[in-house]
């Protein structure tokens, strides 16, 4: 073989893959061509390990306009001639190396995916995972990531309305930084990313091309993480001002008929942008890299083709319209270059001052080998799942410290310290700001609103990847339902270890199967997504962490529901039930309580998807009929934390006097899914009971709203200020 194993390693290709390339080309690739294969056949661009599994996820539905994989983002119809464009993407490895720029450019990249389709970006969300804040490096990563998101997101005028942050030792070496963007477009103005029309011109706009980010896709995103600190040059630096200009400019151009396609330059830069555009349209492209504006002298073709310099867009301009497009660019004082044109021969041809330096079939470049592996259940899993939790002591009669400790745990405490650094009001659509089960944004000019959330519990998936995957989907949907929205579609980001390992492959496969099952039962399609594999260091993978970004729709923005208790005398109820209500120790499986108080990660979380569907239907109908005054999902920290949060947010007390069976810790702190804490006016109770019964949903009366204390008979009696102080101050305290 004329290429060394080290050289192949650098671009994350195997020797077998190299042989396959030679066989398909009928010759040896030159170094530039090999680099292009490395990028396009990487997991990040080519999904070679994940694609066969991703196909298991339901992707169709009456509202799906653009299914996954077809374009830069998924698109769903929300009626009134409008569509929502949505996508989530990881920037884990760059953020681990340089948290501020890594996270900032993650935001930049996902936003470009949205406006590349002609949609105005209207909301950002972030799903973040770090190691415990007690460690200095984790604090550095956390503060850097939040700072980067804040700096970039605030500057481009897109509100950052939600997300989650969780801390676990599993993420210490390998934080997860997933960014989601949602945009709005008139359906008829959707722009595709195809290089259509022979002779049409390829125009590059935005930043000049530099040496930054070379091998981002293949090197950083598609292998494990041993020599990470040597890869600093693979992280790019963002320019949010230029991004903001690009948003306005591209939306203006998208509104004309001068173009046939728009594509952002993300992972693998010019290589993937041009080749994927050609692949989508079934065409070919010729580009002359001598025409590409450079940031520095002396760059070779390889560097130009694989640079991941940020804030660049490729516009497919109709021949003859180039001057009109240039006139728009001039208004914004933005330079541009015509770097090539569309052909019909199916080849990606790269020239350097007219001389051919690479010539490969688009079809071969975009058809990586797909691997369907055999997953093997890890040996450690069964013992963890069958761990007997009966021996743990139940909650004592006076358990104030347990509750306060949970409320101040960074996983449960208020995330205001983070989201107050993000502009969440700009664009004047934010009806429910961050801090709720889901964010709600009105759609101007209609009665509608959309609700947005991200969810994913790595600990559940670690203990049971199948149910954990299902629970992530169920919880995201439940969050939307609690705000009064009908779930519409999912964009998912799958954060896993090295899929070439059978135990990790097992987790990936099981998790996708669980997600698929929940999507089927709850009837929510997956319209876009991203996989981030190889999240591991020294053989230790992160918790398998699927992050579910979900969009729902509120038909009438006046029928939204919030989580805070409202008025004295309202009745508090638990809608739904799980193992927790049976008071059995297995209800504590995978709970925050178990890890925080007993330092145990064990048990087997489960979910009854049919009950979940009924609970969600009942809750949504009750909200739409105006019966509920509050609704809040029971999740991390279980029933007790849900009740406490409803008190804190509503600034009003709660007194609970229901009869508990079995273990009190299971009832109060178990995290069984399919449960919602709701409150109603007394005169609506009978109606709700009737509705719950007809839906086949258990309904239990817990107590009443009122006063300024948090009371659960025989266990807790605390002033509201005390629990509020723990919850509001927990995160800042952990930062020291």
């Amino acid at each position: 073989m004329p290429v060394s194993k080290e050289a192949l390693d650098e671009i994350a290709l195997s020797e077998d893959e190299y042989r396959l390339i030679v066989e398909r080309l009928g010759r040896e690739p030159n170094p530039l061509e090999l680099g292009m294969f490395g990028a396009l056949w990487s997991e990040h661009c080519g999904y070679k390990h994940s694609k066969p599994l991703l196909e298991l996820l339901p992707a169709s539905g009456p509202r799906v306009l653009v299914p996954p994989g077809e374009e830069n983002a998924g698109v769903i119809d929300i009626g009134d001639g409008l569509a929502v464009v949505m996508k989530i993407e990881s920037h884990n490895h760059p953020s681990a190396i340089e948290p501020y720029q890594g996270a900032a450019t993650g935001v930049g990249g996902i936003v470009r995916d949205i406006f590349a389709m002609g949609a105005r970006p209207m909301a950002l969300l972030n799903s973040l995972r770090f190691g415990p804040l007690g460690e200095r490096r984790n604090r550095y990563l956390f503060q850097g990531v939040v700072g980067g998101i804040s700096a970039y997101g605030n500057c481009i005028g897109v509100p950052d309305v939600g997300g989650e942050v969780l801390f676990s030792p599993s993420y210490s070496e390998n934080p997860l930084v997933n960014a989601m963007c949602v945009g709005l477009v008139e359906t008829k103005k959707l722009v595709k990313a195809g290089a259509k029309g022979v002779g049409n011109l390829l125009m590059l706009v935005g930043a000049d091309t530099g040496r930054d980010g070379i091998h981002g896709a293949s090197g950083l995103a598609s292998r494990t993480f041993e020599e990470e600190r040597e890869l600093r040059s693979a992280v790019q630096v963002g320019n949010p001002f230029l991004e903001k200009v690009l948003i306005e400019l591209c939306l203006q151009i998208a509104d004309t008929d001068y173009i046939t396609g728009l594509q952002d330059l993300g992972a693998a830069g010019l290589t993937s942008a041009t080749v994927e555009c050609a692949a989508r349209a079934g065409s070919g492209v010729v580009i002359d890299i001598a025409k590409v504006p450079r940031r520095e002298k002396g760059m070779n073709p390889y560097e130009v083709m694989l640079s991941e310099s940020q804030e660049r867009m490729l516009i497919v301009v109709k021949r003859g319209c180039e001057d009109k497009v240039k006139a728009i660019l001039e208004r914004w004082d933005l330079p541009s270059a015509i770097i090539g044109y569309v052909t019909d021969d199916g080849m990606a041809r790269v020239l350097d001052e007219g001389k051919v330096v690479a010539e490969v079939s688009v079809q071969i470049l975009t058809d990586p080998p797909l691997y369907r592996k055999e997953g093997v259940e890890p040996e450690w899993l069964k013992p963890l799942q069958t761990m007997n939790l009966d021996h743990l002591p139940d909650l004592p009669d006076e358990a104030s410290q347990v509750l306060l400790k949970l409320l101040s745990s960074p996983n449960i405490a208020s995330k205001e310290w983070i989201y107050r650094q993000y502009d969440h009001h700009v664009q004047t659509n934010t009806v429910i700001p961050p801090g709720a089960d889901a964010a709600v944004l009105r759609i101007k000019g209609t009665k509608k609103a959309i609700a947005l959330t991200t969810d994913g519990n790595g600990r559940y998936c670690y203990l049971d990847p199948r149910w954990g995957g299902a629970m992530a989907v169920a919880e995201a949907a439940r969050n939307l339902v609690c705000s009064g929205a009908q779930p519409l579609a999912i964009t998912d980001c799958l954060n896993f270890g090295n899929p070439e390992r059978p135990d990790v492959y097992y987790q990936l496969e099981e998790c996708i199967l669980g997600m698929a099952e929940a999507c089927e039962v709850l009837q929510i399609p997956v319209v876009s997504g991203n996989v981030s594999l190889y999240n591991e260091t020294r053989g230790q993978a992160v918790y398998p962490t699927p992050v579910i970004g979900m969009v729902g729709m509120v038909e009438d923005v006046h029928h939204i529901c919030t989580m805070g208790f409202k008025d004295d005398g309202d009745i508090v109820l638990l809608l739904g039930a799980g193992e927790a209500e049976a008071g059995v120790s297995s209800a504590l499986s995978g709970s925050e309580y178990l890890e925080l108080i007993h330092e145990v990660v064990g048990g087997r979380p489960t979910i009854d998807l049919s009950l979940e569907r009924r609970v969600q239907q009942c809750c949504l109908t009750a909200i739409e009929e105006g019966l509920l005054k509050s609704a809040h999902d029971c999740s991390d920290g279980g029933l007790a934390v849900a009740l406490a949060e409803s008190c804190i947010v509503g600034s009003i007390g709660f007194s609970g006097d229901w009869v508990m069976e079995g273990r009190r810790d299971a009832q109060l702190l178990g995290e069984s899914p399919s449960r919602i804490v709701a409150s109603v006016e007394p005169q609506n109770l009978a109606k709700l009971e009737e509705m719950a019964q007809s839906c086949g949903v258990p309904l239990r009366k817990l107590g009443g709203v009122g006063g300024k204390r948090f009371i659960v008979k025989e266990i807790w009696d605390l002033p509201l200020e005390k629990i509020e102080e723990a919850w509001r101050g927990g995160l800042e305290k952990a930062l020291g």
């Binding site: 700096a151 605030n154 500057c155 005028g157 903001k244 009001h425 700009v426 004047t428 009105r442 101007k444």
Partner: protein, 233 residues
């Protein structure tokens, strides 16, 4: 009346101001590109929030050199109304149309939150719909909103009643706890000597509809409308 909303590259509250003026107050409103030099059509100009030119050198420091700014100065000199919000306030200070400067928040973080503003002067065109001492609840979102000026300027502002809004507690007390960014004397908004140019850091356009959490921002736009309509008639 006719409003002009000035747009620099990097401005992002232009659409929000436009929306409020058109859809909440039913006024005529146009975007004014920063290269425009004819402002004769407008009764009131708004310099909206954003990060003009990325605020890369200093907030508003590059925007003040945009062609439109010379005309904004002439416009103000004619006694017409100019309202600078957030980045607009910063730009007006850089351009010398308002005294002082907006520097990095004292805690060094960007901060997006609701604030309470006590109205300390109800005789300006921007606050005449408020009652004396009224407390408005209006959100802010900025990293550089710490109002700074030398002692002599501060004294002058105080004596001439040019401090229109101060960060306060919900009941109107001026305390350090209520100060979200370290601003000297809790200053949130000031007017020029003539009273026709106002700069404020919080965003009234984000609080004109109850659905968005509060509508106290309306007092500012209603003041402007009353003033101009009264003046014209």
């Amino acid at each position: 009346m006719r409003f002009g909303v000035i747009v620099f590259p990097g401005t992002y509250s232009d659409g929000d101001c436009y929306h409020v003026l058109e859809r909440v107050f039913y006024q005529k409103v146009e975007y004014v590109w920063h290269k425009e030099t004819n402002l004769s059509d407008y009764d009131c100009l708004i310099l909206p929030g954003g990060f003009s030119y990325g605020d890369y050198l200093r907030t508003g420091a590059i925007a003040r050199f945009s062609p439109v700014m010379g005309e904004v100065e002439n416009f103000a000199a004619q006694g017409k109304l100019v309202l600078g919000i957030c980045n607009g306030f910063q730009t007006l200070c850089e351009a010398g149309l308002l005294p002082g400067a907006l520097i990095r928040n004292s805690h060094l973080q960007f901060r997006c939150q609701w604030t309470h503003l006590r109205v300390d002067n109800t005789s300006t065109p921007f606050s005449q719909a408020c009652s004396p001492g009224q407390v408005l609840r209006i959100p802010m979102a900025h990293g550089e909103g710490f109002y700074y000026a030398d002692e002599a300027t501060l004294m002058e502002l105080e004596e001439e009643g040019r401090i229109v809004f101060r960060y306060s507690s919900p009941s109107g007390e001026i305390t350090q706890d209520a100060n979200p960014n370290g601003s000297l004397r809790n200053i949130a908004g000031i007017v020029n000597k003539e009273g026709n140019v106002l700069g404020m850091m919080p965003h009234p356009e984000r609080s004109c509809e109850e659905m968005l959490g509060g509508a106290d921002g309306r007092f500012i736009f209603e003041s402007i409308l009353d003033y101009v309509i009264h003046k014209v008639s």
